[in-house]
Symmetry: C2
Subunit: 417 residues, 2 copies
Amino acid sequence: MALLYGNAVVGQSGGPTTAINATLAGVIYGAMNCDCIGKIYGMRNGVEGLLEERLIELNSIFEGCEDKLESLKRTPAAALGSCRKKLPSPDKSDYEKTFDKLIKIFEKYDIRYFFYIGGNDSMDTVAKLSEYTKSCGYEMRIIGVPKTIDNDLKGTDHTPGFGSAAKFISVVMQEIIKDTQVYTIPAVTVVEIMGRDAGWLTASAALGRLVSGEAPDLVYLPEREFDIDEFIDDIKEILKTKPNVVVAVSEGIVCKGGQYIGDSTQGRGVDAFGHKALSGTAKGLEMIVKERVGCKVRSVELNLPQRCGAHIASECDISESFGVGRAAVMAAEQGVSREMMVIIRNNDAGEPYSSVFGHMDIELIANKTKFVPAHYINERGNNVTDECLEYILPLISGECYPAYKNGLPQFFTFDKN
Amino acid sequence: MALLYGNAVVGQSGGPTTAINATLAGVIYGAMNCDCIGKIYGMRNGVEGLLEERLIELNSIFEGCEDKLESLKRTPAAALGSCRKKLPSPDKSDYEKTFDKLIKIFEKYDIRYFFYIGGNDSMDTVAKLSEYTKSCGYEMRIIGVPKTIDNDLKGTDHTPGFGSAAKFISVVMQEIIKDTQVYTIPAVTVVEIMGRDAGWLTASAALGRLVSGEAPDLVYLPEREFDIDEFIDDIKEILKTKPNVVVAVSEGIVCKGGQYIGDSTQGRGVDAFGHKALSGTAKGLEMIVKERVGCKVRSVELNLPQRCGAHIASECDISESFGVGRAAVMAAEQGVSREMMVIIRNNDAGEPYSSVFGHMDIELIANKTKFVPAHYINERGNNVTDECLEYILPLISGECYPAYKNGLPQFFTFDKN
């Protein structure tokens, strides 16, 4: 494969996570140590900022400053800013104009390497840009680096960002269970967890079952139709044996007929990609349990801290997220393009968990969703299997803490530009 | 003061906190090292369990097991179980019967020391029990040890449990602010914080202002009447200068005329002490902002993790909470009774923060509330002053982490009895 000399650009897209800056740090580290890459630019707010030429030269910030890179690695959200912009399809009127503008910016800055850290929708951007640069003969190596707390990307064993979100959820769930156990009066606590279509994060709430033996009594994923009558029956049954019932529920659970539980109390509408923005599933269930069981009920929506809880990040996740960013640069240097980086688990029986990085054709991945498979959910559909938890458990191993000053974490910030 | 030989009992009462077990550990440690105290018993579920003679002998569990005491210290919620039971007043028909039963239990177990760890309502229990034992001539030393995340007890500089809750809130607020900064479209994020009547915890959300310079744009405490029109004006004004507005709001804010914002969306009723159980204040404001400002709005209720977030406890708080428990035993040994332990801050100008423990007549404390004083709130009533933050900041210093195994915290649990 011929060597390609030039500059590189990196961007972050989609919803922020605890680990997306670790991947950014990995790309920056990789690019600074790559002989073929001169400068590494960061796009502010993903392709939205790129189209406005809002670029920041990163070498001068990070070269010789390992402490800054380390701080970036432990900082939540997207330090470069993010966007939800989808590039136009070939059948759209602004297609030519948009991509032409991008090519002109690439030429101006001699950008030959493009790294885009994002979720499913961001891989769509990578696919379209790959298509266009190829068709117009602009030589460029374009790599998508996965990130999503939802773990719903195909082709990779798991996604960077998932482990830290799963760790926050499972740690907090251990604490909530302790909190709910202090009183003797019957009470139900419903904890709502992120995950629009895939139940990976909700499944993580049950990890304690393998470790401390304490876990939610009931776990409901969006992959299975939710039956309110069965739910109420299950709660009443458990209340016969203990006073405190804890339920973990995905924000996206759907009843027969396609009705979301949260529908009545939410009003956020749909996002730019047409996804329904949900809220209030736990609140909805709280009201139902109050009415039909009649005991004390509390709903807890874990909300934003799930995706930005850097104060209790997974060491495994942060380390892999950095590694996959660095590996993306190495792959691009070797000629890889139009691919998404993936994490491959070493599945040798009896061996401790380990992983390596690979890459995969973006077309096989973009716009697809990896659901929790049927055999990871129990027969009644009210919990996950041990096999499911054994898959997730290694991904929350180790504690990655930020540095603290005067009691508060010290996070990395780019100067405004 | 004459020496009093006998056994001791310790109980936990009221809402759980991250630090109430550290105080329990302090009492156990103190009792095990006190020459006058033979056995130390734990009451399961406070006075509720005591009346049912549900006692657990603690010496055999903890003697020679420093690791267990250390684990208890870092475990959230109330390991002995808690209750919300209020002992009857002298004018109630069950007064004699209830207290007579308690005295019989004390006699049976030769209990001469009574330590009760709790909030405002628990100090009421201490006061009544002191009154009765005195009137019937049963020699007993009775000490209340404060705990409440709300920091609303009079007589003490601050309450054990407050520092850890304030730390969780201020750390997570730093992360949420990072999360909200990633997009360029105008958006308002409303974060709801516990604190029924006093705004100490909500004020803590702003601590970052003194450390990182990043803090919520608007902070509303229940001590000031909430004006919806001014709130909307303030948001519109801030949106002119930046796209992301972050609001910290107490669950208990009240509009002119006494109307709670959360009223329309909540339905929890009142608790055993007649307090209104609130929820949905942020959700209510979300709807109001959506309607009147028209931008993207998200509400986040920090909920239970505020009071059980042991994974990021304050070292200062856990250390003081243990210390005040131990000091309670020493005070009782020296003859103190019918008093609540307090924390006294060393206020020497220019000196780093330090504190000592003292005690105070329970009658001066029980059933009173310490509000955030007027000069800690800015003139417009939409933020707190630096002086307020300087008071709180030392209380979140240091990070106290639990031990982890397989990625999850290892908490202490008493066997069921």
